[in-house]
Amino acid sequence: MSERRPKDLEAVAGNGLLHRRLFLQGGAAVLGAGSLGLMTAAPAKDLPPWMRAPGRPLSGYGGRSPYEDHVRRRILAATGADGAGGSWTPLEALEGMITPNPLHFERHHSGIPDIDPDRHRLLIHGMVDRDLFFDMEALSRYPMVSRIQFIECSGNSYLAGLPRRPINETCGFLHGLVSCSEWTGVPLSILLDEAGVDPAASWIMAEGADAAAMNRSVPLAKAMDDALLAVYQNGERLRPEQGYPLRLFLPGYEGNMSIKWLRRIKVTAAPSMTREETSKYTDLLPDGRSLIFSYPMDVKSVITSPSPGLVLKGPGLYQISGMAWSGAGRIARVEVSADGGATWGKAALCEPVLDKAVTRFRMAWRWNGAETVILSRAVDETGAVQPTREAIVAAKGRKFAYHYNGIQAWGIDSEGQVANVYA
């Protein structure tokens, strides 16, 4: 494979985008040949230090390589309120579809509570036949389901496209309020059925056990459809910063509604008009009016590599890698352009492609060393196409802060430096 010349590779779009077969078939062979050569060629006197003595002992809970210690969330906290703020997943340092638990993005309104699971209970009350308490031991006996799905703060990507001039930051800081995990828990519908929902009810109010007692209204239809009371995240019990011991998980909906540290669900006839759903998570339009209850996260994609901070070291073959997701369902396709949007090629989607999950896409690219702009554009199974920044700003202005899903353009200069650009 490594002997193939540029003319053998099938171009699918302008400026060096190559057919995805190159990655589907050729990648493993190239890697295999390379590592075998290294092993057989190494003379004994060059033994690295980690082969000259036994390594560290076994451990009860794993850690990562010290060489990866720099891969961290970026934190922005409110002044005078350390526990209120957010931390961004370093997307540019990660691969695949699953976010490691310690790097899952955070957004808290009054810090992370350390909840004793033996003292934690969920109350379901309001327009139900019976007001019921559930403790964690009881919940562990209910039928559980596991789903790989993303969660995204509705303020994600705001910094990437809505400031007047492009902010030059890492991909993770511009788009890292999204993470994807396998969530395991009890379908909320089972508990609501047990409590017996009044046919006149249309909403629930969900409340957390943090110091903010953060709460949101959720349409009853969503609560009965695919809402999950999540207990596990990627196989282990939830992290405290993800709602230990119990969180609501609403697939595809803006992250703020998936109440962490879930303590209370009140079944109601109308939305409670909480502070979060009125004064915060609403979208101000140019005419001064605001959208309220804009729940689903729209189709979005971003190229994570190359991206700002990752420098291309000279012309040659590179892998474009990125992630795509949609609150409406599966990703149908992702198109990539390496010539500023003049031509587009279809990227390879990494299996599995799941409902409301992050989908990894990849594409081979031979960079010729010239300045250019690369972009990705996702389409979901409903046919929704990720819009351009220009189209969004024309329709909604720049005064809103939530649900921005514009196409991300990365400018690449002749030195191989990558920057956020508006294109």
Binding site: H125, R130, R289
Partner: protein, 177 residues
């Protein structure tokens, strides 16, 4: 707008998920529920007995709120609470309690459940009514000695009340509601 296939898939998913639980919920007494129930609905449901005016709220504000929100709600370390009227359709919109919040009941609910930041749910209901009255007064919405209580607060008409467009349910499902 959903296709028939999507509807069929959704129905199938619902059937798959319709599982039975072991029915381990423990009935809560009305006393327990009322101890846990802190939310205030926009029609005033849940508002407790008690009362407070802006005059009574000013010293409470000075004690608990001004270090983060400024001496008169103009913002300091955290959110601006006062002003911004008429700015929402301009180039520099300022969203405050007065210029943006659609329901006065939400002010009581939020102050009681979340504030003061270092010691939430520590204020008396009278103090929360008084603080709510003070914030509404600073925004020119109620008078200085107008008492806020379970009867008067839901009647307060917030200036931005009618400027919200429902994005849910989807427009095609909103007809007839």
């Amino acid at each position: 707008m959903r296709s028939l296939t999507a509807v069929a898939v959704a129905a199938l998913a619902a059937v798959v998920l319709a599982q039975e639980g072991p029915e381990l919920g423990v009935e809560a007494t009305p006393e327990q529920v009322s101890e846990w129930e802190i939310s205030i609905e926009p029609d005033g449901e849940g508002l407790p007995p008690g009362s407070g005016t802006a005059l009574e709220g000013e010293p409470v504000y000075t004690l608990y709120c001004f270090s983060c929100h400024g001496t008169e709600g103009q913002g300091l370390l955290n959110d601006v609470l006062v002003g911004g009227h008429g700015t929402l359709d301009g180039p520099a919109p300022l969203k405050t309690v007065g210029s943006f919040w659609p329901y006065a009941t939400t002010v009581f609910d939020y102050v009681r459940r979340t504030m003061p930041y270092q010691e939430p749910q520590s204020l008396s209901d009278d103090q929360v009514y008084a603080l709510t009255a003070y914030l509404l007064f600073l925004n020119g919405i109620v008078g200085e000695d107008e008492a806020m209580n379970a009867r008067t607060l839901p009647e307060v008409r917030m200036p931005n009340r009618d400027n919200f467009i429902l994005a849910w349910p989807p427009p095609e499902e909103q007809s007839g509601e």
